[in-house]
Amino acid sequence: MELVINGEKKTYRNGLSVSELLVEGKVEMPQYVSVQLNGAFLRRNEFDERTLRDGDQVEFLYYMGGGSAGGDGWS
């Protein structure tokens, strides 16, 4: 399936959860990322159960400030 991650199209296997996407995408410090799925923020407890579908738009948002985590943690 194709997902739009931070504005870029990428291909992933079907049935991926948000938690799995954080691992597969090697997101830096996933415990501190805010996740928006199709424009709505997900609660942290939704990451495991929420399965992604073809065409879903996912935004990973990071804390940013000098001395912060953040930066381009998505790979």
């Binding site: 931070n6 504005g7 410090m29 415990q31 501190y32 805010s34 928006q36 424009g39 709505a40 923020f41 935004e59 948002l61 804390y63 940013m64 400030g65 000098g66 001395g67 912060s68 985590a69 953040g70 930066g71 381009d72």
Partner: protein, 271 residues
Amino acid sequence: MELNVERIERYSRQIILPEVGGEGQRKLFDARVLLVGAGGLGSPAALYLAAAGVGTLGIIDSDDVDLSNLGRQIIHTTADVGRPKVESAEDRIRALNPDVRIRALSERATAATLPGILAGYDFVIDGTDNFASKYLINDACVLAGVPYSHAGIIRFQGQLLTVLPGRSACLRCLFPSPPPEGAAPTCAQAGILGPVAGVIGTLQALEAARWILGIGDLLAGRLLIYDALRARFREVAIPRDPRCPVCGESPTIRELRDEAPVACPTRAARV
């Protein structure tokens, strides 16, 4: 401040804009903007706001100018190393535009002092580089109903969000609490490419200018993210969170408190 011949000449290129005009220029003269931090973000923001003729600029920063600041904190010069940042910034602004009234505070903004300081301003620019200060500014502005520009920069990235208290999302709608101490790489480890600070700090000055002039669309409810490596901007809609601890329906933060400071060993824009 009157629009005399000299001032009409000085500000002519913006007065000529129909959206600004003499009336807009007077709004800028009457405006009071507080810059929290005279570092990477505060430097370009202060210079552009001063150049544009914003009548009163408050600057609060407890640091002295360090040689490692000069790669991006363009309001300070080599000769200023070791001086309080607010003194250096005041001298530079005065040289640029003697019309501007400057209120320089060489101190750290705290939960005890910030509300009193904020009371005299129309708009606030968060130019700090640590989360304790960023959350303090957010909460103080939300509780006092003062609009402000939040921004953060790191490595090759920057992002900003304008907060109109009670009307658009605040920092806590996006990230309810600061990251725990020690969870993040240090300033010195993470680094920053100087011009990224210039881009984001200048965008913050534009937010203040558009707010004062009442023109265009603010970055309220929209997080603008800049990727300087690929020269791309992207925008993410940030809705207000009804469960936000400070601006939600049942807020748990009703008075200002200092967040535990997040470790940040460099001397960059820490206030």
